[in-house]
Symmetry: C2
Subunit: 308 residues, 2 copies
């Protein structure tokens, strides 16, 4: 056993090495956006869980309580979306250093607004008073028809790589929040900051893709395009080519990248993270049909950004 | 809205007031040991979630990492037991201030030992590096046959109140851990300290009770006998009488209570908490059969301690 501290993935591996599932109803354990349980019936149960810690994942100075409540649930909704599923029921563990009414009510209102937007019931949890550094733990259950489950594994050589929306906006918004006053058009600033603080998980897109049975693999972009694409590659045993010029390039992102001291737009797009848009692979002969269908059925612009 | 800080139950009420379940498959939301989801099939899904925070729920100085891992899962197993259920799958959120290999491996071994003891698969979670104050969030899924579910609500006037084991040992163990050296027989000290650090949830008893359909209400003793009995009373709209002389009185508890400066044995038994034994109500005419059956089938001494 090494003496140095363990990294996040070391800790996961320590558990995963000894935690091989023993039950036949486990269709997916550690290693995808959600665990998948097949407990009988037409549908599989999806489970995801996240832990958000003050000072690590959020700062009270740069988010409203309402935005924090929204985002705490939204990032889990995105994990359900990434399997093609529908969210059902949330459980909230809330460790507050000081349960000020204004903060608690704002957090609740944002959390429940996200729940209502996605048809989720809040069914339980736990609240604790902690001495400092608030902590938020959300568990979300969802469901997916057995035949519609989409996983990280499954991409094939030649598959097109597609994005459900632009990436990098959230990272640019985070940069703006920490960079102080910047000479940026207020509407563009608002677009980027809201992408970071009020992410919109793509549940409708995920279900639409799953229902058409066209994606060979899917994940949501939470750690950054390159890193999450890396998960699809590792699961498939393949490499991937991304065409930087093909990445969606919203005006707001380009404008922020032109500010003094800012990273480039492609740095944000490739390595940013917390975009919560879907990243998926499809057989190349079906991309045209898919792009046209998403525009028609969902009013959504999909973008092919490379190939496996 | 008041200006003072909110207590734990205020926070729960803030959420519960606005979180009425919207879905027909919710059989129990906020307000019992577990949420209960009826997603079709023969069995209901049980879900419970707990948040343990360093400095509030545990101190590294008084528990081994292995004991902490065991207890983190065991307290959730007890919630499943309290509904008559069987645990299935765990999800672990782990925020470590420093993931030292020895601590992490010890925690993992205790957690997985409890998982194996109860047939639980660890299927996912989240790990985070936090600057200080480690935090552990466990979500546990379980199942119960639809007709065997036992809730907090349902006790009737005249029902006997029964305990699955002695209460107060855990509180006495906690007192010993904080009271420094004490002139107590080492075996007795060990009994009490282990009751606190390595609780044994009563899954077999819960399932046996549920299978016989004899309990009208059930809960596990986590907050203390009086407080948890208060939950059964509130759910039933009834009061209760406890016979202090009828409480199980293990030697170790009496010996610790005789130490200088110690609380009384009945203080520990009534108000202690973290015992994780089952507390349930049964029609009075069936208590004799139940006590005899538990002795025969489980080798377990049930005790009637009062009446609703």
């Amino acid at each position: 056993m090494p003496d140095a501290l363990l990294g996040e993935f070391d800790v996961i591996r320590l558990f995963a090495d000894l935690a091989a599932p023993s039950h036949p109803w486990v269709r997916q354990g550690i290693g995808d956006d959600c665990a998948v349980l097949d407990l009988g019936g037409e549908r599989c149960l999806l489970v995801t869980k996240d832990l958000l810690c003050e000072g690590v994942h959020f700062l009270r100075g740069t988010t409203t309580p309402r935005q924090l409540g929204w985002k705490s649930l939204a990032v889990n909704v995105s994990d359900i979306a990434a399997m093609g599923g529908r969210p059902l029921a949330a459980f909230l563990g809330l460790g507050l250093d000081a349960a000020e009414p204004a903060f608690t009510v704002g957090f609740r209102d944002g959390f429940l607004a996200c729940a209502r937007a996605h048809g989720i019931d809040l069914l339980g949890g736990d609240t604790v008073r902690v001495p400092r550094d608030s902590v938020i733990s959300v568990t979300l259950l969802g469901e997916v028809a057995r035949g519609e489950l989409v996983r990280r594994a499954g991409a094939r050589a030649g598959d097109a790589i597609a994005l459900g929306g632009p990436v990098g906006l959230s990272a640019a918004g985070l940069w703006l929040l920490s960079a102080g006053a910047q000479p940026l058009d207020p509407a563009r600033r608002e677009t980027l900051v809201r992408a970071h603080l009020e992410p919109q998980p793509q549940v409708a897109l995920g279900r639409w893709i799953a229902g058409r049975g066209v994606a060979t693999a899917m994940i949501d972009v939470s750690d950054g395009l390159l890193q999450d694409l890396g998960h699809l590659c590792a699961a498939a045993g393949l490499g991937a080519r991304i065409l930087a010029d093909a990445l969606p390039a919203p005006d707001a992102l380009a404008a922020a990248a032109a500010l003094p001291g800012a990273p480039t737009a492609s740095d944000w797009a490739l390595a940013g993270g917390e975009d919560y848009v879907l990243l998926f692979t499809v057989p190349p002969e079906r991309t045209a049909e898919l792009i046209e269908g998403a525009r028609r059925d969902l009013g959504l612009a999909l973008t092919v950004v490379g190939a496996m």
